[in-house]
């Protein structure tokens, strides 16, 4: 369905050229929900802007169902529905009016659009604000309305740029099931996010961008399998204590006083005993052993902080 092939996007700025996307290739099939992960500035939104025709690639091809989206930006706007990274314009207009107008502008019939709007508003439990003008809505509700505007008459491809920012946990869950349903109805969904843990539950596949390049791609479990030591030992160090030498678990990262080590399954028993000794000696305040999360994999892929023997943080 969506085929992005060797897309490079270079911007000229006063400070020099910026390489926002560097030879990016990815595919999305019908019904597939794919997460596009990356830091701020990794090139995610630039890629989305090129898909919907707001930006043109410096080189490379983007096709959807065989149509060249770069050559036909007007067609791209018809075939792709978008929830933008910023807030949708709701000044002076109520959620229901905005969603219905968008549905009609996307070519939906009046009755179908009205029914679908009611369904979406109910599914996200935002009925109480359905007739409140946008200026008086909270950021989270505006975000949900932005999602509804993309989903009311969805395109072959639905792109959602950070759809859950500012949204409460209960409605996030509702939104993820609506995203899944879009996939089940045969739409391809490209989900842009930097919220790793959350995206994991909603997607079939993940693509990780770093500094404009695709650095990893696969199902969440395939990505997790890339880490050789699948368990993680977290130790909260006592204040002022230097980072001790780690007999088990490499690499390690330090986040404040939380020290995280990857531990091989065979080393689990001695590593836990060692952590218990650290706690007994007062070096550690508490510790826990958990499976490696997608977040750990992500940090490993796009770079995080590790500590050397002297406990100095090093950016990798």
């Amino acid at each position: 369905m969506l085929d992005i092939s060797h897309v490079t996007k270079r911007y000229r700025r006063r400070t020099g050229a910026v390489l926002a996307n560097d030879d990016v290739s990815l595919r999305l099939g019908a019904g597939e929900v794919v997460g596009l992960l990356g830091h701020n500035g990794a090139g995610k939104t630039t890629l989305v802007n090129q898909i919907v025709g707001l930006a043109a690639p410096t080189s490379g091809r983007i096709t959807l169902d065989g149509h060249d989206l770069v050559a036909q930006p007007a067609l791209a706007r018809r075939l792709v529905s978008l929830q933008p990274q910023g807030q949708v314009p709701l000044d002076g207009i109520t959620p229901r009016q905005a969603i219905e107008l968008l549905g009609r502008l996307r070519g939906g019939g009046a009755a179908t659009v009205r029914r679908r709007t009611t369904e979406l508003i109910a599914a996200l439990d935002i009925e109480e604000w359905a007739t409140t003008v946008g200026n008086r809505l909270s950021g989270g509700v505006r975000r949900l309305v932005g999602f509804c505007m993309a989903a009311v008459v969805p395109g072959l491809l639905v792109t959602l740029d950070e759809p859950t920012n500012d949204v409460d946990p209960v409605r996030r869950t509702a939104l993820w099931s609506l995203v899944r349903r879009l996939g089940d109805e045969g739409h391809a969904v490209l989900l842009v996010s930097h919220n790793v843990a959350e995206v994991e539950r909603a997607v079939d596949r993940l693509v990780v961008l770093d500094r404009g390049r695709v650095v990893a791609e696969g199902t969440p479990s395939a990505l997790k399998a890339r880490v050789s030591n699948p368990l993680r030992l977290q130790i909260l160090l006592a204040p002022g204590v230097p980072v001790p030498e780690a007999p088990y678990g490499e690499p390690s990262t330090l986040d404040g006083r939380w020290w995280r080590l990857h531990v091989a399954e065979l080393d689990v028993a001695p590593a836990v005993a060692w952590a218990r000794d650290l706690a007994a000696a007062g070096t550690a305040l508490e510790f826990s052993l958990t499976p490696t999360s997608l977040e750990d994999v992500y940090v490993e892929l796009v770079g995080g902080r590790t500590v050397d023997r002297e406990g100095v943080e090093v950016v990798v």
């Binding site: 007007a74 910023g86 807030q87 107008l101 968008l102 996307r106």
Partner: protein
Amino acid sequence: MSSYGLLLRWQLLRLRIVLPLIVIVQTALAVSVVLGFVFLAPTVDRQVALYLATGAPTLGLLVVGLATAPQLVSQAKLQGSLDYLRALPVPRLAYLFADLTVWFVTALPGLAAALLVAALRFDLDYRISLLVVPAVVLTAVTATALGYGLAYALSPSATAVATQLLVLVVLLFSPITYPAGRLPAWLSAVHDVLPFRAMGDIVRGALTGDGSGTASAYLLVALWCAVGLVTTYTVMLRRD
């Protein structure tokens, strides 16, 4: 409903809080020109009165198109909503014409109020011809298209400076509310190229039948209208 109709509805909903205010301010401005500029003229004969009566509506159309409309485009640009609208499956022209309609309708009450107040204040009779429709529509569309062209092509801060400068030029240094003969020759020559005097002329010609709405004046305004529309349309199509 067509894209044009839906976008028009959206714009009217979006602006329903500010539009009444804009209409009030714009009407007050047009009426103030009629009543206030009298103090600048030593004697008010029939010619001065006709220039004020017909120049005030033209100024109203110009201020809405060259200042108010581009300010709201800049605001939409800053909020990111302009990019959102650009990503909708809507013909660019439908979007442009929906906006032109809104601004044209916004300028009409001021136009009518200025004419009425001037008629009462100066005891004037107009000789309104059917040409009033093309003259007013062309003036309003040209002003808005130029304002949009500016706001689309320039950054919001540059747009703010440019529109303020334009309002100053239009209000005081353009022969709209007074005859061109009062200007120094060089400035009068500049107005042979700019659209502002021609706009004043075609509106006055259509309202008074004094023959100032010449074909060349219509042509000059139409050319600037094309410049504004083409600039706006080109920038709308541009991709980063």
